[in-house]
Chain length 351, copies 2
Amino acid sequence: MLASLPTTPAHAEASADARLLERAKGLFEPIPTAPPQLPGNVSTPEKVELGKMLFFEPRLSASWFISCNSCHNLATAGVDLQPASIGHGWNRGGRNAPTVLNSVFNFAQFWDGRAKDLMEQAQGPVQAAVEMNSKPADVVAFLNAVPEYGVRFSKVFPDDKEPVSFKNMARAIEVYEATLITPNARFDKFLRGDLAALTGREKTGLDLFMDKGCSACHNGINLGGNSYQPFGVMAKPGAEILPEGDPGRFQVTKTATDEYVFKVPTLRNIVLTPPYFHSGKVWDVEQAVAVMGSSQLGATLSGDEIAAIADFLDSLNGDMPKTDLPILPAIASGGPAPHLRPALPEMRPRE
Amino acid sequence: MLASLPTTPAHAEASADARLLERAKGLFEPIPTAPPQLPGNVSTPEKVELGKMLFFEPRLSASWFISCNSCHNLATAGVDLQPASIGHGWNRGGRNAPTVLNSVFNFAQFWDGRAKDLMEQAQGPVQAAVEMNSKPADVVAFLNAVPEYGVRFSKVFPDDKEPVSFKNMARAIEVYEATLITPNARFDKFLRGDLAALTGREKTGLDLFMDKGCSACHNGINLGGNSYQPFGVMAKPGAEILPEGDPGRFQVTKTATDEYVFKVPTLRNIVLTPPYFHSGKVWDVEQAVAVMGSSQLGATLSGDEIAAIADFLDSLNGDMPKTDLPILPAIASGGPAPHLRPALPEMRPRE
């Protein structure tokens, strides 16, 4: 009896955990603890600081009221918790604002991937009529009217003939946004070998996440953000969730097979970033899991399965970046021409 | 010759500086380096932290888009740099948003003094239709739906039967706002005896500021914020600056002598907080000084005098509070009833 010990339940569990870990390591990758370097856009502390200032700078918008942080609020996991963002004139954007957190790890930006990187992305909302509604020339004129920005751009881009430019604004913002990563999620600790970092329920959820096929699209470092997929591959969700008027990536490629194709969103910090999908119409994470099951996998997940997967998603919350609010510099005395002052259109709510 | 030295210019200057300091000390007071204690609202680190979270909490507004910090932006000296604030539905408030910085030292709040303290003040914008447009009951329901807020309110208000309340929200915000002070302005260093803290020009400006009569109203710790005065006591400024439709404190007291009477605003950090006056129509600090000269003092100040006074105002910029952006807690899974979700009215700009 002493010579041949039976496999105890504890042994069995440890070995099941080890197998789960091995399987997971083949599909996922932990968030690194240091921000990645960007090809062609070297990070320096001064560039990061300038980028942070610009990220929080409402005067990049026509109204002087809206900054990057308005919709990608770092106090609320890099989102605005809106179905679609409120922007200039209280207009709403067409799609749910994706989180800026870990967005550097996405293989393209926007729901339809129309920007290849964050530098390209950052130039969009500043100009979009329903977002910040500004113009590159006005942004540059504003920046040039602020002596401290002139000094900072010159230091950060010393080799440029005109350091203050719309492109350099975007370069600095990109480098800052690359620092907005959330390492040390419990799932990442698990991936690094800490088998006790997940609860039993979460391990069950992870198992289901891979068994049911969620990880076919939600994989890699961001559990998503690395492929395009048709929304409704098995069954189309209702028009509330998948509005007919938004054909997704088709708008970019004009290719029929790209109709209703979207970038797979990251699931990092997903429970903190409702509402869900590009339409932002689903508030409850369990409902979102159920919709994914039926529309993407053709599977009716049981309530228990859904709850376990949602528990696993809880383990994807990482450490939020620490943010000292920047102090934004003043416009020079005498200031810019009045057309740079907030030109507020006469807008009133429909009664 | 050696026995009786003539008074050298340096001596004369030092003695003039000392006289200037003595005169100034009779009128002004430096900002303390530590926040003041509030009568009836004890400050604790936990209450300050909770107040900070609520100050940055957009979900206190009906839209979930607007927080205290939207209009009292700590990145831009506690203001929004707008003539009048943009609020719910892109409506604009009736008056320029005063800075939250050092507001604890004002003897009453709002331009018309209708709130006796910051706790009373904080309850206004949350409910104002053109600001955050919320209701106390909705705020309380939201706070109760966030487990972490429940825990924090209970810790901060342990003796309350219902720790989560609209009043306690305001109490916490008040205690946080009392920390938003800007000590160590160069003028304060001067007041504390450092005669070299001001430049010669700034000393000339300070001298004029007292000689011309500015300090008759702009005195005390906040150089203002401690009296009501009629705007246009000597000569009414144009309707652009003093719109007829806003009779100021008259709206509060219904007393004829309070027509076009306003609280004298603080001049702390004034060069960082344009545009000026309750109407927010003047962007240039020198123009604002000129308007004050003619409307309040009946004096036509020369260009040199105005410039020197503006130079003195530059010395009123203090150390900005350091702000770690709070991480706001998530709503419990299952969440509040949908009516707490952003109920966005259908609003569109007038074409």
